[in-house]
């Protein structure tokens, strides 16, 4: 979707504020919302990383810009746990378990956390899929504007680039975000010259690399 989250190339967002000796979490609730989101993800229920990103992208744009990072996570958590079927909306509304709803046994104990945080859960898939493009080949990022989740930023659409590397076969976010299947396909590192993306404003030496799936690209 052409959302405000897709902000590469926008002006007017202000200076970059670098905080010296920044803590990992600025308040206790930030750590709690992070940990809740991780544990809920690691347990049962239908969810994936692309669905999680799509949920945040659908926050109203003015709210998205006004909220802090973990406020967005908190807003998502309240929606996510209902969509995953872990609690009902009525339980979220009342912040209490429904009478007689029973108590599950948590799937992850503290002792299991070190293994959980160290576990790889790659979205790379060991399946044979034909690669449409080869390193060195000129390609164009398609001029497409999906209304769902996509990882093709607006600033690259319609632009010419060169395949720098084939990263292998990965889950396709556009379908995965809405549980329409993984549609695994080749992912490429594509180099765009800064001049192709930004015109005369950019240095002639510079470039931007994006990781783009087969379905985002077309032959030149």
């Amino acid at each position: 979707m052409n959302g405000v989250h897709d902000m590469g190339g926008m002006d007017g967002m202000g200076p970059i504020v670098h905080e010296k000796d920044e803590p990992v979490f600025h308040a206790e609730w930030e750590g709690r919302v992070y940990a809740l989101t991780r544990l809920v993800r690691a347990g049962a229920g239908r969810w994936n990383i692309d669905a999680g990103r799509f949920e945040i992208e659908r926050l109203p744009p003015a709210e998205y810009l006004r909220m802090t990072y973990y406020e967005r996570w908190a807003a998502r958590l309240a929606v996510q746990i209902v969509k995953m079927g872990l609690v009902t909306q009525a339980e979220v509304d009342s912040a209490t378990p429904a009478a007689g709803s029973g108590r599950a046994t948590p799937q992850l104990t503290a002792a299991m956390v070190p293994a959980m945080v160290a576990r790889r859960s790659s979205t790379k898939r060991d399946v044979r899929v034909r690669a449409t493009f080869k390193p060195g080949q000129r390609v164009r990022a398609r001029n497409i504007h999906p209304t769902g989740h996509t990882r093709l930023p607006r600033y690259a659409r319609g632009k010419l680039g060169t395949v720098a590397a084939d990263r292998g076969v990965f889950v396709f976010p556009d379908t995965n975000a809405e549980f329409l299947g993984e549609k695994p396909q080749h992912l490429y590192s594509v180099r765009f010259t800064a001049r192709e993306l930004w015109g005369e404003r950019a240095s002639p030496r510079d470039s931007v690399y994006l990781d783009l799936w087969d379905d985002y690209l077309e032959r030149v």
Binding site: A74, V117, K124
Partner: protein
Amino acid sequence: MGNDKKGPVGRRGFLKDAAATAAAFVAEPAAAHGHTHHDHGHDHQHQAVPSDVALRVKALESLLVEKGVVDRAALDAVVDSYETKIGPRNGARVVARAWVDAAYKKRLLADPTAAIAELGYSGGQGEDMVVLENSPKIHNLVVCTLCSCYPWPVLGLPPVWYKSAPYRSRAVIDPRGVLREFGLDLPEDVEVRVWDSTAEVRYLVLPERPAGTDRLSEEALAALVTRDSMIGVTKVSPPQPGDRA
């Protein structure tokens, strides 16, 4: 939202969809800061934390604990992992090893995920790593314009500026201006390569080893390597007089 503001958390109305939930999390006046400011003289992007987001999160936690979805001690363990174990010191050890061990550096560039795992670092948001080597002629810079993708196992959780609109919007269109804001003014003959983390590949910059560090131990070298240098917004500075070598 108006009249139940001071009511007990248990009766607080949680709203039904993302839009309404978003409003619920921000619509109230910013009565309190959610954190301590160490570095003032500017407007923080995250300044206006509503006073009750902490209460709302607490209510969600209580509900999920009471339902048996999550275990409170496990939550503590996740927070502790990222506050004390998984952070940029991990990446600094990877960089220092690559500086002192040519064979390791070769493996790190050829198969980064495996080479990083050799030092014991792996996990979520680091499944498929790529290492970008800076040189006197090429400077690499990492961003995620669409969200906040960042290599957790080697750098921990990202700082606020990395996730903020100013960095995400400008890193791709004005990388040299961004680097100047971080105090790095690159000559025109250096090529700047910006890496937008649009997929699940995660990037770690291998900064240049500073001059005058030939006699430093691997451990002393690791102490020089900063988080920002591994994102690519700064270089690693040589040891300053007075630093413990």
